[in-house]
């Protein structure tokens, strides 16, 4: 496989590993990562070139830190830097020498026969062509990975459906996401129409199946400036082409969210059944009209750190007010109601759960994110009452809940009530719950109290050099199986513009990738960037990301963090939902544990089969 090594155009690296073993996937990933250390593929290959310094703080310099000391400084860069410098200077030449591009397969199963290599070369040539089509010449190999972010951000919520996929502007999007079926049929593209991209998606599928034919799974491709990540989930293939410098792990996490969003609309069971029945089914037929939901999700993923942290941020609220509102929700119940959720300004205000449903599992943050995204993408312009089937993929990927969505404060539409039932026919009963909630909230004047609530400012912490932070606690009481949450102040100056916000988020993503690196996880990282200094710290009790002004000293930062932790402790009743309240809507608990049996039936009787 490794013929003609280190040719001019060694810009392509394909990372392949054995299919993940079901019983022990972490070990497999670790092995993969370790095997890759010998290669020249690093998540941040250009790190050395920007003027920031990375330094791991010895753990014992913080008085109460339990972090392990990281004695090594930085990563072995020398090899990758030279490689990449060659790439930069030669990159234009590469465009003309497509056939010389190398497929660099890290294959533990060393048996390679000639036949496969030949067809491999063919696929590589195809891929290289496709990649040139996709990425064009607009590759910016030399700039800092962390500064590159701001330049290519498209204006949010613009319609990208009609974009010309041959135009430079299309190629320069920071992050492309494609979804296709195993038969190579386009299902979704973030930018441009799926039809126009069918040949590109065909090449993607060719790659996936070629590697599959060798009993392997393609995971990612690294080229100068771009990372291509593949995710196979059942009959769906998801591909991300990113120039955002995020790690493969982070990008795969985002693809997983896209998959979950599709599952939330169709359920996993239906998708499997459809493709079992008809391999070349055009899934767009069932997803028609949901492009906005997927677009919205991808915009959120780029702009909201909740996806990165896999946690939910709730609206800061005096605990007495939150308790009052929770009690109102607790009282307005009807049989088969399982979740009552109140959302204000797209943030969770309170969530009340049915006792038996939640007994053996808790609601995953990802499910909440999908619900919040659905609400954001639904028609918020009117005072309607929406009733729609929705699946919570992490709760149960094969069943539907029925969601009642209604705004309580038309025409402003900031406070949204979401009631989830397991009964398809329960609309009128659930709508009656809303009337009760509305009346009670009117009586207690809750809406006007909610309207006054805002996100908090970092200045309230009272630490002068602290610009922003994200804090995710792990120390929740065991007896209250609780939603994973995080808290974070508003992004204020100098992070008020969209570009600067994105830049800070990219810095956080970088810190997050170092902390959660599969090969060399860190407990503590102190990072002096160009315009700010960041400190990330993970303990058994919390995960914390802080951003300071650039001139802060290490000692100052540590004192500031101590103060910040003290402040959070003092405010935690306001910043977090501490004890999610519950109600009981099923007198007979066996009747509707985990979504209920009626749903199981429903997923087999939702009409999809009849459409084939």
């Amino acid at each position: 496989m490794e013929r003609d090594n280190h040719q001019v155009g060694e810009t392509e690296g394909v990372k392949i590993c054995d299919p993940p073993c079901e019983s022990n996937p972490p070990a497999d990933t670790l092995a993969t990562s370790l095997s890759l250390l010998g290669n020249h593929m690093f998540p941040y290959p250009l790190e050395r070139k920007h003027r920031s310094a990375v330094e791991e703080e010895p753990a014992d310099s913080l008085s109460d830190v339990t972090a392990e000391e990281e004695s090594l400084d930085g990563e072995p860069h020398s090899h990758q830097v030279t490689t990449l410098e060659t790439e930069e200077t030669e990159s234009s030449e590469c465009q003309n020498n497509v056939s010389t591009q190398q497929l660099d397969i890290e294959n533990e199963d060393t048996a390679t026969d000639n036949e496969r290599s030949d067809s491999g070369e063919f696929v590589v040539t195809m891929l290289a062509k496709a990649k040139l089509e996709e990425q064009g010449l607009g590759v910016k190999g030399g700039s800092s990975p962390l500064l590159e972010a701001e330049t290519q951000e498209p204006p949010a919520f613009m319609s990208h459906r009609d974009e010309d996929v041959t135009a430079d502007s299309w190629r320069q999007h920071r992050k492309h996401v494609f979804v296709l079926s195993e038969a190579g049929k386009p299902i979704y593209s973030r930018y441009g129409s799926e039809e126009a991209l069918s040949s590109t998606m065909g090449v993607m599928m060719a790659l996936v199946s070629f590697v599959q034919s060798g009993d392997n799974i393609i995971r990612s491709i690294y080229s100068d400036g771009h990372t291509v990540v593949f995710l196979q989930k059942g009959p769906l293939v998801l591909v991300c082409v990113s120039s955002s410098r995020q790690t493969e792990q982070q990008l795969r996490g985002e693809l997983l969210y896209v998959y979950y969003q599709i599952i939330s609309m169709l359920t996993q069971a239906s998708i499997s059944r459809i493709f079992e029945h008809k391999k070349n089914y055009d899934l767009r037929r069932l997803l028609a009209g949901s492009e906005k939901i997927l677009d919205g999700l991808l915009n959120l993923v780029d702009s909201d750190p909740c996806f990165l942290l896999a946690a939910v941020q709730c609206l800061p609220l005096a605990s007495s007010l939150r308790d009052n509102i929770s009690q109102i929700l607790q009282k307005a119940i009807t049989p088969n109601l399982v979740f009552s959720i109140l959302i204000a300004n797209n943030q969770l205000l309170t969530i009340v759960q049915e006792k038996t449903v939640i007994e053996d599992s808790r609601l995953e943050p990802a499910d909440i994110h999908l619900l919040l995204n659905l609400i954001g993408a639904s028609s918020a312009f009117q005072a309607g009452e929406i009733w729609t089937p929705i699946c919570l993929p992490l709760f149960n990927p094969d069943c539907y809940f029925y969601a009642y969505i209604s705004y309580l404060d038309p025409p402003e539409c900031t406070v949204c009530l979401l009631l989830l039932s397991t009964d398809k026919e329960a609309f009128y009963a659930v709508a009656e719950c809303k009337r009760k909630i509305e009346e009670a909230m009117m009586a207690q004047n809750s809406l006007s109290l909610i309207a006054k609530v805002q996100s908090y400012s970092v200045s309230q912490v009272g630490v002068s050099d602290l610009r922003h932070f994200m804090y995710k606690p792990f120390d929740v009481p065991d007896t209250y199986q609780q939603l994973t949450q995080f808290t974070s102040p508003e992004m204020e100056a100098p992070y008020s513009s969209e570009e600067e916000k994105m830049r800070l988020l990219d810095l956080y993503r970088y810190m997050h990738s170092r902390i959660h690196s599969t090969s060399r996880p860190l407990k503590l990282i102190y990072h002096v960037a160009e315009n700010e200094t960041l400190l990330a710290w993970v303990t058994s009790k919390f995960e914390l990301y802080t951003c300071f002004s650039p001139l802060v000293t290490k000692a100052c930062a540590i004192t500031a963090i101590t103060k910040l932790l003290r402040w959070i402790k003092k405010e935690e009743d306001r910043l977090f939902i501490r004890y999610p309240p519950k109600y009981s809507t099923t007198p007979n608990p066996s009747k509707s544990s985990r979504g209920g049996k009626s749903d199981q039936q429903d997923s087999t009787d939702n009409g999809f089969l009849s459409l084939l």
Partner: protein, 229 residues
């Protein structure tokens, strides 16, 4: 509130109806005498939500297409012969994946507005399938009306007015072409439905039957000669 209730009772006594009456009003500013459920049906993107928003708020939702999620329940109170008629309108998603939830609420509907897009042959061809579905799931005596929407886009028309009329005649349902953009016939469609339902609900034995077809024809002519619709 009590005054309103007395009024309601008086009217109830006068009209001799109780079947469709609701015992109490939803709220003070949302007062009504009688309520009906109406459902908007048709393929995806024929303009169901736009027709509803035009009727409810007198506005046109231009620009980006936002697909309805599931079914969307909204109210509008209209005056029919001095009676407050509340139309509870189900705006449905046209997409196939929401069919099962739409079916569950068909039988509640007393009237169905079935829409196609005059610029989409496909949406017109699917009307027969929709009517089959209606006969399967809806009440037997449901009021059906066929609407050819987007009548303002004359340049892209592919379904002739006569084709719509012929189909409507075949199934014995009233028909008109509407435009959510300009508002043509939108109000009329809902008002005709409201009148028909009100007459059905309050009709006395000896009273003549309300002729929805004649009413629509008369109103159509009236509005076209005045030219304000």
């Amino acid at each position: 509130m009590s005054e309103r209730n007395t009024l309601l009772l008086e009217k109830q006594a006068k009209n001799g109806t109780s079947k469709y009456m609701l015992e109490r009003c939803a709220s003070v500013n949302d007062y009504y005498d009688i309520a009906f459920k109406v459902m908007l049906l048709g393929d995806s993107s024929v303009g169901k939500t736009c027709v509803l928003v035009r009727f409810k708020d007198g506005a046109f939702l231009g620009g980006n297409f936002i697909a309805t999620v599931g079914i969307d329940f909204r109210n509008k109170v209209v005056d029919v012969d001095n009676l407050k008629v509340k139309l509870q309108i189900w705006d449905t998603a046209g997409q196939e994946r929401f069919r099962s939830v739409t079916h569950a609420y068909y039988r509640d509907a007393q009237a169905l507005l079935l829409l196609y897009d005059i610029t989409s042959k496909m949406s017109f061809d699917n009307i027969r399938a929709w009517l089959t579905e209606i006969h399967e799931y809806a009440q037997k005596d449901v009021v059906i009306m066929l609407l050819g929407n987007k009548a303002d886009v004359a340049a892209e028309r592919v379904v002739k007015t006569e084709d719509g009329e012929r189909l409507a005649k075949e199934y014995g349902v009233p028909f008109m072409e509407t435009s959510a953009k300009t508002g043509v016939n939108v109000e009329l469609a809902f008002l005709a439905i409201a009148k028909e339902l009100k007459h059905r609900a309050t009709q006395q034995q000896n009273e003549p039957k309300f002729q929805i077809h004649d009413y629509i024809e008369a109103q159509k002519h009236k509005s076209s000669c005045c030219g304000h619709m």
